[in-house]
Symmetry: C2
Subunit: 632 residues, 2 copies
């Protein structure tokens, strides 16, 4: 075991927090350990009040629940409910964007379509006519097709699945009973199915799990990414700064935290417009910074600094320099409100569904987005005024890099190398072994793996073996902070072959520097982009995604959303590394299916390994297998 | 503590099961005890992978989760997810009936409308024109109004809520932010809301809980009850036999188990039609018997014997005399399949969503209901043939009573007393104190309370104090087995005043015997009927439901469905007794709100008491308060 790793930027903030009498997540995890083994193995069932039932993995005591549910049944039900929690989160996110787009088209919300090209491209996949039509008319048809999915009771496949799924995988899902229709029916049925006395067959439950992954993939992630691009623009390459050092002592620091760009886009807009008010209050400017995934959204589209990943959301407040933290949905630790109150940060919740004791609630309604955003910015300015004369503690730590690597911007770069066939250079280099393979990192930072710098070490181990890395979500923050998103990292960490490719492409594309070795592809909903890129590569090679020399990883699993995203990737046929283990190890059949048998159906395979270098080696072995099977 | 109570019918079956080497639920509970205190208190959180977090109720260790979630946040999130599990089950049930009615109207499923009067009554509440219209046209409009609820994204109130909720309560909900719209949006949002880093405010979570109760009440229970009555007929008073003694050694015993009458109605129909085949196979007849709630459905509409409640679903198989057990949805213990395999029972699962290892699966599709039902009946006949020559052990224990006390049949009886104003005699007797109050019992039998005969003793304690009891679900089985549903029970258990009323009404209605003191009002979805009766009484008195001298009880809580039903009752303003305690005691604020503060909003109040006589006394004290407040 390596010695405990605490990032440079975090050490002084931990000390500040402790000095202020606050406990941090690190402290709470330490005090909470060891954690419940039944819970970790998945064999604790609280689904009915005959329980809680717990199955002893060493064979002592009853080996089924009181109702007779086997450990595999218990594990599979719990896992499916986690998957529902994740999928429902993304479907809710997507539906919120959809309804706002509808309101905007009806003139009832101050948003408009910023990317007609993306709209037309997506609409085209739906079979919606685009030639010569007005942008808003096409958008209305796309909205209608999306609403049809939520309203349908005809059992027909989800429009979003039919339009956006890769062909070979779509066919494989249809053949294997993995068709999905109305995402809400699927969510209702999954909760029903897992309630006491319904599905007890682990295999049937795992099929439902895979379908729930598709619900997340198409009625959640893909819908959210596409509609956000249409509304706010598809990201183009931009530079970024990351880490807490992006805070400015003499500016109004306004942190946006959460996931939904409907809020953060408006806050950013009004921060610009109200800069005069900030200056009148004595500030140099308004410094909007991003935390967690809404941070990624703003970084991808506007180069806004990435101040903190999820785990640092409480620590950044210990700088005493954050004047406002405005949050929308998902991954908001309740502790942040307590930190905020200790440092006089204006801590603002905005979503009807998210209230936190101690927070100020300014309900953000798309219809009143402009007024709401102004109120939020002004609250931060007022907090800045109150902060004057108080000490701040901003660790002078930040990194630089590139963001904005959407599929469209990647193709844009590559088309400067080969305008006719932009993906050809990538495929040629994969075939030649210069790019040995590719791995996508997604998900959160976990306290359980920060001490060993799991994500950073896995990434470096892969780059060294000429494996290209793409990333989304909070793992993108980790990579950014570690300096993995810039051109210097190519020189520093990549094997010679990968270094050669990235340097050559960077030059050919006229960037004047190598491409970075880790590509920031967006927020966690933007795992869509990774899948779209894989689908494009597989399509060009006329193979299934499961045949590509690639893998995915949630190296520091925290959220139910990672379970549903990971399930989508398994349904797509990907090898998915996960740490810590999903709560399945108490169910031998479930473990066997997910880590082995599934490969014979979708091609997907779950892989658990806690040691970063071994995990990287496991992924490389998988890539080697796939290369061999392709004969390259 | 009284000595351990094991019903007469169960003792020999427990012995048979043990002799066969089987463990029963009782054995598993005993071996599983003591159960996890964190789970029981609600302060175990497994919502993200930083956990499992557990909060020590004695103040040792961290007093929040790793994310900072307070015990109240943890408790409220877990409780809301239980409520979603229950509501999704009932919404799924209702939606299944709805889609089958739609298919039937389109000529695509062999069902038809049996109760046009009920259809017209319900349609009238929706504002659907009925005068002079064809039955199917009215039904189509009702189907359309129901489908609109599932498809709506306009935020308007659920049609079913608007049409079917009592007026004063509807207004109170609107005023208190408890409006519900599309039930699927509510389910999605509740799962999203409770995922990590969203709602952390226990009050906000409890409001969502109340809304989820309304989702269950109107998009689940009420929709299911009404549509089932429309399709299969509104129950009328009928006699019943209950307990395992209804099995017949020389007949094909076919047990239907679950909740959905789409299956059981067809099985019953085909059992009649295929009796010749059974006789050809050597059987006297085909004896269809009911288990759990689909048993209640068949009893209410056809007087089918109630062979076993949920807890006895495995024991009844130990008779060796059950030839077929066909199950649909909900409350099917996986252990039943194992028992079935030990006794050569044809154990048949039928729902796409319910698979059980060891079962034969005959997927029951409404479009092929007739063929599916025939296959099921024939499987039981074949098992009967295999059973010949093997011993059976049918305890000769059964009770008789009345079922079929729908609101319509109650009004029918009362109209023989007062044709102009059927409810007047009830109200007059309540006012005069002859009926001191009324209590509704619902839910399951729990192993945790069978030893003390919780339901039976509570019921008797209430009857003695002239409190009328109504019941649904498996508590109706318990009451039936205890002989509480017949006229003799009125003589035996009721206080003089109640006895007088029930005798007088029974005579006036021409029954030739007293009304029973416990009214069987149906299956668990039929809690709708109890609420409709209360709404009618409150409407007549022009008071709120919360002002009535009544209470509800889930005396032996098992299912998530009881949580969502109970939540609906709390939203309606009822005093709701529950045992065991919901998993809230680890959250002081949640406990305070549900057991106290809520009374100031909806009038509802949760009440936990494990001792049957004390629980009855608590309910009587509540009734006394309500009487005093009404000045009666």
């Amino acid at each position: 075991m390596a010695e405990k790793f605490i990032p440079l930027s975090e050490q002084p903030l931990l000390e500040s927090a402790h000095a202020a009498g606050l406990t941090t997540g690190r402290d709470r995890l330490a005090a909470m350990s060891p954690q419940c083994g039944f819970g970790e193995l998945g064999t604790c069932c609280r689904i009915c009040y005959m329980g809680p039932c717990r199955i002893d993995p060493f064979g002592n005591g009853p080996q089924t629940g009181i109702c007779g549910a086997s450990p595999d049944t218990i594990v599979a039900r719990n896992l499916l409910r986690e998957c529902v929690g994740g999928a429902a989160s993304h479907v809710g996110h997507a539906r919120h964007i959809l309804l706002t787009m509808q309101a905007a088209l009806d003139g009832k919300a101050p948003y408009k379509i910023h990317d007609p090209a993306k709209l037309f491209a997506v609409a085209g996949q739906f079979g919606i006519a685009t030639d010569g039509r007005a942008v808003d008319d096409v958008a209305r048809d796309l909205v209608a097709a999306s609403l049809e999915d939520f309203g349908r009771q005809d059992g027909q496949p989800l429009n979003w699945l039919r339009a956006r799924a890769p062909r070979k995988e779509f066919d494989m899902w249809m053949e294997n009973g993995l068709m999905i229709s109305n995402p809400h029916n699927e969510i209702e049925t999954a909760m029903h199915r897992t309630s006491m006395g319904n599905d007890a067959d682990p295999v049937s439950l795992l099929l439902a799990q895979l379908r729930m992954g598709l619900v997340d993939g198409y009625a959640g992630l893909t819908m959210a990414t596409d509609l956000q691009d249409i509304l706010f623009g598809t990201p183009q390459v931009t530079t970024l700064e990351a880490n807490v050092g992006v805070l400015e002592a003499n500016s109004v620091n306004l942190a946006v935290h959460g996931h939904n760009p409907l809020l953060s886009e408006k806050v950013l807009q009004w921060a610009g417009r109200l800069e005069g008010e900030a200056q009148a209050a004595g500030a140099e400017r308004i410094n909007v910074v991003g935390v967690c995934c809404t941070g990624n959204e703003l970084t991808m589209r506007h180069g806004v600094p990435m101040a903190a990943h999820n785990l640092q959301s409480e620590l950044i407040l210990a700088t005493g320099a954050v004047d406002g933290m405005v949050v929308d949905i998902q991954c908001i630790w309740p502790s942040t409100a307590m930190f905020a109150s200790c440092y006089d940060t204006a801590f603002i919740t905005t979503d009807e569904m998210v209230h936190i004791p101690g927070a100020t609630h300014i309900e953000f309604e798309p219809a009143h987005a402009d007024e709401n955003a102004q109120a939020i910015v002004r609250a931060a300015i007022a907090a800045f005024q109150k902060r004057q004369g108080k000490p701040v503690n901003i660790p002078n730590v930040k990194s630089v890099g590139f963001a904005g690597l959407s599929v469209e911007s990647i193709v844009g770069i590559l088309s400067k190398v080969n305008a006719e066939d932009p993906l050809k250079p990538v495929i040629d280099n994969i075939v030649a072994g210069n790019i040995y393979g590719a791995v996508g990192f997604a998900g959160c930072p976990s306290l359980k793996f920060r001490d060993t710098a799991m994500t950073e070490r896995m990434t470096k181990a892969l780059l060294k073996e000429n494996v290209l890395v793409v990333t989304t979500g909070c793992t993108a923050h980790i990579c950014a902070q570690e300096g993995l998103l810039n051109s210097q990292a190519t020189e520093r960490y990549c094997g010679d072959k990968l270094k050669g490719v990235l340097t050559a492409v960077g030059e050919a594309a006229g960037l004047g520097a190598p491409l970075p070795p880790v590509w920031h592809m967006g927020s966690c909903v933007d795992n869509t982009r990774i899948v779209d890129l894989l689908a494009a590569l597989a399509g060009k090679l006329d193979v299934k995604i499961s045949q590509l020399p690639v893998a995915g990883s949630a190296p520091e699993l925290v959220q139910e959303k990672a379970i549903s995203i990971g399930t989508w990737l398994l349904a797509l046929g990907l090898f998915v590394h996960i740490a810590p283990a999903p709560r399945i190890l108490g169910g031998p059949l479930v473990t066997q299916v997910l880590t082995n048998d599934l490969e014979g159906i979708t091609g997907g395979k779950a892989y658990v390994e806690y040691d970063p270098e071994k995990a990287a080696a496991g992924m490389i072995a998988h890539i080697a297998e796939k290369r061999a099977a392709l004969g390259i």
